[in-house]
Symmetry: C2
Subunit: 154 residues, 2 copies
DNA sequence: GCAATTAGCACAAATTAGATGCGCTTTGAG
DNA sequence: CTCAAAGCGCATCTAATTTGTGCTAATTGC
């Protein structure tokens, strides 16, 4: 389906929360108290974001995660590529098929090239959507004034 | 994942082939001989496209499918919406969650609004990608000169 | 040094979406 | 009447995604 994974959603929510907490270390537990998200998956998501340099982790008491860069330098593209890999609109672009030598030996696939262009533009959109723009425009209510709110029915 | 389904790919390939055959009725069998695609799924895809007025079906001997509109009026958007439903980038936009009253009661979801804008633009891209533009630009080789070629390893 | 907190990691399992096969029915052409 | 082809329902089958539980390692605060 043409849909972001839950991991990506969780990642974005976590990043927004970290932005709210402005530089402090935020634990997975805290994020899952703020939003009703499964702890395990959020932990894994943040680990992957840390590996990709989007956030920094700090172990031990008082530790957690914090943004590794400015919210203007963190984009939806970074999050998606860290959590889902680069988008492959068609199955013949996916890593699995590529490594099997499935499709790139077929130079005359009629839909390949135009689909690639669509994907390129989609990718540009993701890369130009910064973390700051996420909070700047939405119905987002900063932490200290907001009651707990959740994006999902758990 | 941010990826089109195989159904959508099959649909586009089938449409391209129908365009090649210029107005004649094309059977599912013929399409599956041209491209190595599973008959059952292609049949279902074309049925759905017919329901949505993208193609027209003709039963009986000599029947099959043909384009219901000009290749300039058929877009990737039509195909995706017929075969996958309108794209819902986040899970809280998906039909399942909506009908459960899951998320739209949460007016302060921090990421909802900007994600919607991304989705709108993605949707516009799909709507502006016409069937004709698919064949006009790719490495597509018209039917009568092409050897059989396939987009996938089966 | 010790206890509490917190990330990291591994095994597995539950859930969901997606894709496909088979056989039968209906329709239409020759 | 016979054959080709769409339409339909049922049953899987597969693959990706998501999640739970419990244990390990790293820090911090006392």
């Amino acid at each position: 389906m043409l849909q972001l994974t839950k991991r990506t959603e969780y990642g974005m929510l976590a990043l927004v929360h970290m932005l709210d907490r402005d530089g402090e270390y935020v634990s997975v537990r805290e994020i899952c108290e703020r939003y009703p998200l499964p702890k395990r998956t959020v932990a894994e998501v943040l680990k992957d974001l840390a590996r990709n340099g989007v956030v920094e982790s700090q172990r031990g008491a008082g530790g957690g995660y914090t943004l590794a860069r400015s919210p203007d330098e963190i984009t939806l593209g970074h999050v998606v590529s860290a959590l889902e890999g680069a988008p492959a609109l068609t199955s013949c672009e996916s890593a699995l098929v590529l490594k099997n030598g499935g499709c790139e030996v077929q130079p005359s696939c009629p839909i390949r090239s135009p689909i690639h262009r669509v994907r390129e533009r989609l990718w540009q959109m993701l890369e130009h959507t910064t973390l700051r723009s996420l909070v700047a425009s939405g119905g987002h209510v900063p932490l200290h004034t907001a009651a707990a709110s959740a994006p999902h029915a758990p």
